[in-house]
């Protein structure tokens, strides 16, 4: 990491962007086929997770994995604690005026839609990881997220933890000076990661994908989880 050039926030994450861009382009070209031996590092000790049904969403083996971060619900939360649940994971920052609230709003809509369809919501866990620990305290994050949906759990690590989980999920975030009085903002990716009951990423949902893609993915992964129980 270069330490000799001034804009601190930018440089702190420059490497990440490069990694991210390379990773995302790799994802786009060589996606969705589970590469053997390259799965998430968090395969549970008690038996390997079953391969997904042939007609289902393939495992996105190029990214993902377990993490453990301080939670808005108190204490720490690990992805591994959520086995048996479908997890909707998203990254952002609360000073984001445009993209993050849009993603969180759609996440809220998707959760309400699932609820309406009679899905057992105890088995769906939305998570939001801030990549702005400097300005997003856990208390602030908790209040902010509750507005979008009461079941949203916020996670906030220190700089190193944030960098690690972002690297695992190939999240791109670069603090940048937009010339705004609001201070630094982030250039960032905005995927929602759909994670199955075994903690494996099965789908990345971007801003242009319809809500129904999320609803259907959650239902499908829950029913797969049912068969395995």
């Amino acid at each position: 990491m270069p330490e000799n050039v001034p804009p601190r926030h930018t440089l702190r994450h420059v490497a990440l962007v490069l990694v991210g861009i390379v990773a995302l382009s790799l994802l786009m070209w060589a996606p969705l086929s589970p590469a053997p031996g390259d799965g998430p590092q968090d395969a549970p000790a008690a038996g390997l997770p079953p391969p997904p049904p042939a007609n289902s969403l393939p495992v996105v083996a190029a990214l993902g994995g377990d993490f453990r971060l301080p939670s808005t619900r108190g204490g720490e939360l690990a992805l591994a604690d959520l086995r048996g649940k479908v997890v909707l994971l998203n990254f952002g920052f609360t000073q984001c005026p445009d993209v993050c609230p849009m993603v969180l709003t759609r996440l809220g809509n998707v959760l309400r839609e699932l609820e309406k369809q009679g899905i057992d919501m105890a088995r769906v866990q939305p998570l939001f990881v801030t990549f702005d620990p400097e300005r997003d305290s856990l208390a602030h994050l908790g209040e902010y997220l509750a507005y979008f949906h009461p079941s949203l759990v916020g996670l906030r690590g220190d700089d190193a933890q944030t960098r690690d989980v972002a690297r695992q999920y190939k999240v791109v975030y670069v603090a940048q000076d937009a010339g705004s009085e609001a201070g630094y903002v982030f250039q960032h990716s905005d995927f929602i990661y759909v994670i199955d009951t075994w903690g494996r990423v099965r789908l990345l949902v971007g801003g242009k994908d319809p809500d129904v893609a999320l609803v259907e993915a959650v239902k499908r992964l829950l029913s797969e989880g049912d068969r395995e129980r």
Partner: protein, 143 residues
């Protein structure tokens, strides 16, 4: 003398309609601002600016009631990521319209002084180079 009067008359004939008609040339419609959690510091406003006139105009700035300050911003997609840039101005060409919408151009409301509650309204002032100040009402709503 007669010449000067003729000239003044001519000047008036040319300039007057211009100044009188300049203001209504710009119309701002479909304005709204995103409702946000009470703890949120920032939000974004969106609207459509129509220029019905024969002259280009430029949006130079805005202020929205209840925000410490308001800037013009633009989200730019770089493929994998979204980047936000501040804009000094936004041109509105004659006979065209400019859309400020989620994921693109927007008013960036900085330092919210009271919560933006869905269903309420906020007054805003847009400053144009030629059309001057235009008052608009923005609906507060969930995105």
């Amino acid at each position: 003398m007669k010449r000067i009067r003729m000239f003044l008359f001519f000047l008036l004939a040319v300039l007057l309609p211009g100044t009188v008609l300049a203001a209504p040339d710009i119309r701002v419609v479909d304005g709204w601002v995103r409702a946000m959690p009470p703890v949120a510091k920032n939000s974004a406003g969106y609207l459509v600016i129509e220029n019905h006139g024969e002259h280009d105009d430029v949006l130079l700035g805005a202020s929205v009631d209840g925000a410490r300050l308001t800037e013009l911003h633009e989200m730019v997609s770089t493929g994998a990521t979204m980047a936000m840039r501040r804009r000094q101005d936004v041109a509105v060409a004659a006979g065209s319209s400019v859309v400020l919408a989620p994921g693109g151009l927007h008013l960036m409301l900085i330092g919210l002084q009271r919560p933006l509650v869905a269903g309420e309204q906020r007054e805003a002032v847009l400053r144009f180079r030629d059309a001057g100040e235009q008052r608009v009402i923005l609906d507060v709503r969930a995105p």
